[in-house]
C-alpha cells in the first residue's frame, strides 16, 4: 500500500539546513499494523506527516496504492487524504466548538455524504467506540480517554484504508491508553492498515512490525509478538 524509496527531507532555516530524514525506505502492506519508534527528534513524526500527505518530500519516491504521489499538488493530496486516510493525534485535536457527534461527522461533510447517511454512519462508529451516550457533549466535557475515542471515531468514520496515529496514547493514563490500543487493534483486525508513531514499547507490542529510527534514518525493523 505504501512504498517509499530513498526519501530525503531537509529543514531549512535562514542559516542552517538540517537533514530530517535521510535515505529512508519503507514498505507497508495493506492490512498491516506498523509501529514507528525512536527517540524524540529522530524524524518519526516527519515521516508520518509525509506518509499522510501533510508534508512533502524533497527527494525520493512515494507510491500510494501504486500511484506516485511525491509530486502531487495540494488539491490532489487533499482529495486523496479525505478518501483514504484517517488521523489520530496525541493531543486529540477535536474542534472545541463542535459536539462529539459533529466532530465525528465533519469528514463526511467534506466528502459530501448525504445527511441521513452521515447520521447512520456517525452513530454506528460512535457505538463502536462506546461513546454514543456522550454524542451531544462538547470535547471539554469529556475525559482524555473519551476524547481520544472520539478522535479515533472521527478517523475511521470515512472507512479509510489507512489510519495514521501519532502517539495516540501519549496524553492518556494506562487504562485509557489500553482502551485506545484495543480499539486500533480491532480496526486493524477488520482490515484497516495502521501506521503508528509511539514512544511506548508497550504500545508497540500491539503492532505486527516495528520500525526503529535514529537521527533521520531507519536503523532496524523487527517483527512484533
Amino acid at each position: 500500500m505504501i512504498k517509499i524509496t530513498n526519501l530525503q527531507k531537509y529543514y531549512r532555516t535562514e542559516e542552517v539546513e538540517t537533514v530530517a530524514l535521510n535515505n529512508v525506505s519503507i514498505h507497508v502492506k495493506e492490512g498491516e499494523f506498523v509501529a514507528v519508534m525512536g527517540p524524540s527528534g529522530c524524524g518519526k513524526s516527519t515521516l508520518l506527516n509525509i506518509v499522510g500527505l501533510l508534508d512533502d518530500l524533497d527527494e525520493g519516491s512515494y507510491l500510494f496504492n501504486g500511484t506516485e504521489v511525491a509530486k502531487f499538488k495540494e488539491s490532489n493530496r487533499s482529495n486523496l487524504r479525505k478518501h483514504n486516510i484517517g488521523f489520530v493525534f496525541q493531543s486529540f485535536n477535536l474542534i472545541d466548538e463542535l459536539t462529539v457527534f459533529e466532530n465525528v461527522e465533519l469528514p463526511l461533510v467534506y466528502t459530501k455524504v448525504p445527511a441521513a447517511e452521515r447520521k447512520r454512519r456517525v452513530e454506528e462508529v460512535l457505538e463502536k467506540v462506546q461513546i454514543m451516550h456522550r454524542r451531544n457533549h462538547f470535547p471539554q466535557q469529556l475525559s482524555g480517554g473519551q476524547q481520544q475515542r472520539v478522535a479515533v471515531a472521527r478517523a475511521v468514520v470515512n472507512n479509510p484504508k489507512l489510519i495514521l496515529a501519532d502517539e495516540p496514547t501519549g496524553n492518556l493514563d494506562s487504562n485509557n491508553g489500553n482502551e485506545v490500543m484495543q480499539l486500533l487493534t480491532e480496526l486493524n483486525e477488520a482490515g484497516t492498515t495502521i501506521v503508528m508513531v509511539t514512544h511506548s514499547e508497550h504500545d508497540a507490542k500491539f503492532a505486527d512490525r516495528v520500525i526503529r529510527m535514529l537521527d533521520g534514518q531507519v536503523i532496524m525493523e523487527t517483527v512484533g509478538s
Binding site: L54, S78, R81, I95, E97, L106, Y110, T111, R154
Partner: protein
C-alpha cells in the same frame, strides 16, 4: 456544510462573547454612523429633484466686476426679454425674496414671513402640486393667493379654504385660489404663500418695472431640452444672454455678466452668491462628512481585521484539523468569510436599532426631519448592502490569512500568527487608525476654535442688548409720536432709526461718484440709512469728522463712510472730511469716517460702506439698559400696541440674528465633532480588543518574567510600550498632514485663526492619553495576575 459553518460561527460568538461584542459593537457603530451620514448626504444632494423638469430648469445669476461680486438675483426685464428673443428659452418665472405680511381671518391674526411674489406661471414651471384649486388659473387674478396646506389648517381648520378672503396688512384683501401640498424639505424655495406680482402697486419697489439696473428678482428659466449636457452649449447660451443684456445698458452696468445655474446645483453650490435665499448647504461639508463616514467604516473594518487576525492562534488548530480531514482552502475561505458576514449582519441589526434611537438626536444636530418614513425598503436594502460590503471587506483578509495555515505546523503549535509579516500588517492598521483619529481630532479642535473666533470677533460695534422693531402699519403715519413715546421712557430712550441692521446687509449700488474714481471700477457699494443716534446706539467709533446732527441743519446730502472706503479712495480719514461725494445723483460731502464694522457674516472681508441720513424711517433699534431687556421689551410692546393696535408686535435681537448667521456652520461643526468622536471611539474599541489579546497571548511570558523577579510596573510598561510606539509613529504622520489640511481649510476664511502648535500638541496628547487609557486596563490586569495561574495552563 453551510449549517456547519453557521453553527461554528454562532458557537464562536457565544464562546467568546466579549470579543464578539467588541466586533459587533464596533461594526454597528460604524454602520449606524455611516447610514446616518450617507442618508444626510443623500438628502442634501436630493434638493429640488422633485421638479418634473429639473434638468431643464436654470436660475440666472449675475457677476459684477469679474469674480468679486456674484449674486443670485437679476433685473426684472431680463427674463421676459430672454424668452422673447431666444428660442432655447421655453419659459421663465421671476420670484421675489420672501416678504413679511400680516394676515387676518376672523379672530386669527398672524405675522407671516414666508410670502413670495411670483409670475403667474409659477406653478407651471415648478412642480409644487395643488391639493385644491386650479393650477392654470390660481395665480391669474391679481388678488388671488396660493397657500400651503399647513397654513390652510392654521387659518381655516377644516373649512374649505378655496374662496376664503384673507385680510393682508389690515388694508387689502386677497382670496385663496389654491392650496399647495406642503413644500418638501428638500426644496431650495421655502414659502407658505404665493401672490402674483400683479398684486403689487405700480409704485412698489418690487413691481416689475422696466429697469435693467435693479437686481431684485430670482429669475428661473425653463430651457428647451438641451442636445447635450456639454458645457459648451450652456456657454453659448450665456454668451447670447450677455449680448442681449448689453443692448439695454450702458456704463458700468456693461460689466455685468450672467450665468445659468442648474436648479439642482442651487442648494449645494451657492456659497459665493450674495442675496441668496436662506438655508443653503455646502458641498464641501457634504464631501467632508462623506469622507468621515468612509473613515468610520474603514476604522470599523480595520478593527475587525485586526481582532480576527490577532485571534488567529485560537482558530489555528481548527484550520489545521479541517485541512487534515479534507477541507480545501476555498472551503475554509468561505467559512471565515461567512463568519465575517454573520458578524456584519448582527451589526446591521444592532445598527438599525442605534439609528432608530439616535434619530431624534441626529435630527437635532443636522436640522433634518427624518422620521418613520426614513426606514423604507431602499434604506434597508442599502444598509444591508453596506453591511454585506463591510463584512466582505473586513472578512476577506482574515479569511485568506487563516486559511493559509499549514496543518502540520499549527497542529504542532507553531503559529504562523506569531510571524512578523502578520504583526507588521496589524501594526500598520493600528497606525492608520490613529492617523485618521488624530487628523479628525485636529479638525474638530480647529473647527471649534475658528467658529468661536468668528462668533466672538470684535464686530466694530456692541451687539449686546440691541432690539429692533420694524415700522409697520399705522406707525408710518405717526412717526413723530412714536419717537416721542420711545424718548419719554428711559428704557427705550436710547434708540436709532435705520433701514436695516448690520448683520447681513443685502443692499449695494454702483451709482456713486467721488473725485478720482476709476471710471472702469464697478465696485459694489453697500449703503445704510441711519440717523444721528446710530453711532451711539451701536457704540461705533468715529475716527474722523462728526456724526449726523440736527445742529448742522440739513445733513440729508452728507455722508459718513467707513475706513475701508476712505482707503479705497486713496485718502487718510482726516483728508476725507469735506471731500465731495455723490450717491444716486445726490451731491454732498463726507462729514465723518467710522472705524470698520461688520455688516455681513464675519467670514467675509469687510467691504466699503456709505451711511446716509435717514429721514424716512424703516425700523427702530433700541439699546436696552443692561439687565433690563425684559422690561424694555414690555415697554416696547406697550408703545407699539397703543400706536399700532391692528398689527401684532414683532421684534428681533441683533445678537441672535448674528448667532443665526453661523447656525449652518455651527450645525455642521457639531455634526463633524460628533462623528469624529465616534470614529475615535470605534478606534479605541479596536485597540482595547487588541490589547486584551496581546495580554492574553503573552500571559506565559509575563508569568515567567514575574517568577524571574520583574515588577508589576515593568510588566505594565512592557505591554503599554508597543502601543505607544505605534501612536508615536501615527503622530509623526498625522500632524504634518493635519497642519497642511487645516491650513488649506482656514484659507477659505477672510478672518481666521492661526494654527497654533498647541492645538497639534493637544490633539496628540488626547490621542496618546486615550490610547494609554484603553490599553492600560488590560496591561494592568496582566501585570497583577499571579504567575502560577498563567503557567499552569500550559
Amino acid at each position: 456544510m453551510i449549517k456547519n459553518y453557521i453553527k461554528i460561527a454562532w458557537r464562536n460568538i457565544i464562546r467568546h462573547r466579549s470579543f464578539a461584542f467588541l466586533n459587533i459593537a464596533g461594526l454597528a457603530v460604524g454602520l449606524a454612523a455611516s447610514i446616518l451620514i450617507l442618508s444626510w448626504a443623500q438628502h442634501e444632494r436630493s434638493y429640488d429633484s422633485f421638479h418634473a423638469d429639473i434638468d431643464q430648469l436654470y436660475r440666472v445669476t449675475s457677476t459684477l466686476d469679474q469674480e468679486n461680486f456674484r449674486a443670485a438675483v437679476s433685473p426684472s426685464p431680463l427674463a421676459p426679454e430672454l424668452k422673447e428673443r431666444m428660442s432655447e428659452v421655453a419659459d421663465f418665472v421671476r420670484i421675489t425674496l420672501p416678504r413679511t405680511h400680516y394676515f387676518e381671518y376672523n379672530d386669527g391674526r398672524y405675522e407671516e414671513k414666508a410670502v413670495i411674489y411670483a409670475d403667474t406661471n409659477f406653478l407651471d414651471v415648478f412642480t409644487f402640486p395643488l391639493v385644491a384649486g386650479n393650477k392654470a388659473s390660481a395665480l391669474q387674478r391679481p388678488d388671488g393667493i396660493v397657500i400651503t396646506a399647513r397654513m390652510a389648517r392654521k387659518y381655516f381648520n377644516d373649512e374649505n379654504p378655496i374662496g376664503k378672503v384673507l385680510k393682508i396688512d389690515h388694508t387689502q384683501q386677497v382670496t385663496v385660489t389654491g392650496v399647495l401640498k406642503d413644500i418638501p424639505n428638500n426644496s431650495h424655495l421655502q414659502f407658505d404663500y404665493v401672490l402674483p406680482l400683479t398684486f403689487l402697486n405700480k409704485d412698489h419697489f418690487l413691481y416689475p418695472h422696466d429697469d435693467w439696473g435693479h437686481f431684485i428678482y430670482y429669475s428661473y428659466l425653463r430651457l428647451q431640452p438641451l442636445h447635450s449636457t456639454m458645457n459648451t452649449e450652456l456657454n453659448t447660451l450665456e454668451q447670447h444672454i450677455n449680448e442681449i443684456y448689453r443692448e439695454h445698458v450702458e456704463g458700468t452696468l456693461l460689466k455685468t455678466t450672467y450665468q445659468l445655474q442648474p436648479l439642482k446645483d442651487i442648494h449645494l453650490h451657492s456659497q459665493n452668491l450674495q442675496v441668496e435665499l436662506a438655508g443653503r448647504g455646502n458641498y464641501q461639508y457634504v464631501n467632508t462628512l462623506f469622507f468621515v463616514a468612509i473613515f468610520i467604516l474603514v476604522v470599523a473594518c480595520i478593527n475587525f481585521m485586526n481582532l480576527a487576525t490577532a485571534r488567529s492562534t485560537r482558530r489555528a488548530k481548527e484550520v489545521g484539523l479541517r485541512k487534515v480531514i479534507g477541507a480545501n482552502r476555498l472551503q475554509l475561505i468561505f467559512q471565515f468569510l461567512g463568519e465575517a458576514l454573520m458578524i456584519a449582519y448582527f451589526s446591521f441589526a444592532l445598527a438599525i436599532g442605534m439609528v432608530w434611537i439616535s434619530l431624534p438626536l441626529f435630527n437635532n444636530l443636522a436640522n433634518t426631519t427624518f422620521g418613520a418614513a426614513f426606514f423604507n425598503l431602499t434604506f434597508f436594502l442599502s444598509a444591508l448592502g453596506i453591511a454585506t460590503f463591510m463584512g466582505f471587506v473586513a472578512g476577506i483578509y482574515p479569511a485568506i490569512y487563516l486559511s493559509s495555515f499549514i496543518p502540520i505546523k499549527v497542529l504542532k503549535g507553531i503559529f504562523a500568527g506569531s510571524g512578523t509579516g502578520n504583526l507588521v500588517f496589524r501594526n500598520t492598521l493600528v497606525v492608520i487608525q490613529f492617523v485618521v483619529s488624530i487628523m479628525l481630532l485636529v479638525g474638530t479642535l480647529l473647527a471649534y476654535q475658528q467658529l468661536n473666533y468668528l462668533k466672538n470677533r470684535n464686530l466694530g460695534f456692541d451687539k449686546s442688548g440691541l432690539v429692533y422693531v420694524p415700522m409697520v402699519g399705522d406707525i408710518w403715519g405717526q412717526q413723530q409720536a412714536y419717537r416721542n413715546a420711545l424718548r419719554d421712557n428711559p428704557l427705550t430712550a436710547n434708540f436709532s432709526v435705520t433701514d436695516d441692521v448690520p448683520t447681513n446687509l443685502r443692499s449695494g449700488t454702483i451709482d456713486y461718484y467721488f473725485d478720482g474714481k476709476d471710471p472702469n471700477s464697478s465696485l459694489i457699494l453697500p449703503t445704510m440709512d441711519v440717523d444721528e443716534h446710530f453711532l451711539d446706539v451701536f457704540d461705533m467709533q468715529l475716527i474722523a469728522g462728526r456724526s449726523f446732527s440736527p445742529q448742522f441743519g440739513n445733513d440729508s446730502s452728507n455722508y459718513i463712510v467707513n475706513k475701508t472706503l476712505v482707503s479705497h479712495m486713496g485718502l487718510s480719514p482726516q483728508q476725507a472730511i469735506g471731500k465731495p461725494f455723490t450717491l444716486w445723483d445726490k451731491k454732498g460731502m463726507i462729514i465723518g469716517v467710522v472705524k470698520d464694522f461688520n455688516f455681513k457674516p464675519a467670514s467675509q472681508i469687510i467691504e466699503p460702506i456709505v451711511l446716509k441720513y435717514n429721514d424716512w424711517g424703516g425700523m427702530v433699534v433700541i439699546k436696552a439698559p443692561t439687565n433690563q431687556l425684559e422690561a424694555t421689551l414690555k415697554a416696547l410692546r406697550k408703545i407699539n400696541t397703543q400706536l399700532n393696535p391692528n398689527f401684532p408686535f414683532s421684534y428681533g435681537f441683533v445678537d441672535r440674528d448674528l448667532e443665526e448667521l453661523y447656525l449652518g456652520e455651527q450645525r455642521l461643526s457639531n455634526l463633524f465633532n460628533f462623528f469624529a468622536l465616534l470614529a475615535i471611539f470605534v478606534s479605541c474599541l479596536g485597540l482595547y480588543g487588541l490589547s486584551s489579546y496581546v495580554a492574553e497571548r503573552r500571559a506565559k511570558e509575563i508569568g515567567i518574567r514575574k517568577i524571574l523577579g520583574s515588577s508589576s510596573f515593568s510588566i505594565f510598561y512592557l505591554l503599554s510600550k508597543n502601543f505607544l510606539v505605534l501612536v508615536a509613529i501615527a503622530m509623526s504622520i498625522a500632524l504634518p498632514f493635519s497642519w497642511y489640511a487645516g491650513k488649506t481649510w482656514l484659507a477659505s476664511f477672510a478672518y481666521r485663526i492661526d494654527i497654533h502648535w498647541n492645538i497639534l500638541i493637544l490633539a496628540a496628547g488626547i490621542a496618546t492619553l486615550t490610547a494609554m487609557l484603553t490599553t492600560s486596563y488590560q496591561a494592568w490586569k496582566a501585570a497583577r495576575t499571579n504567575p502560577v495561574d498563567s503557567l499552569r495552563d500550559e
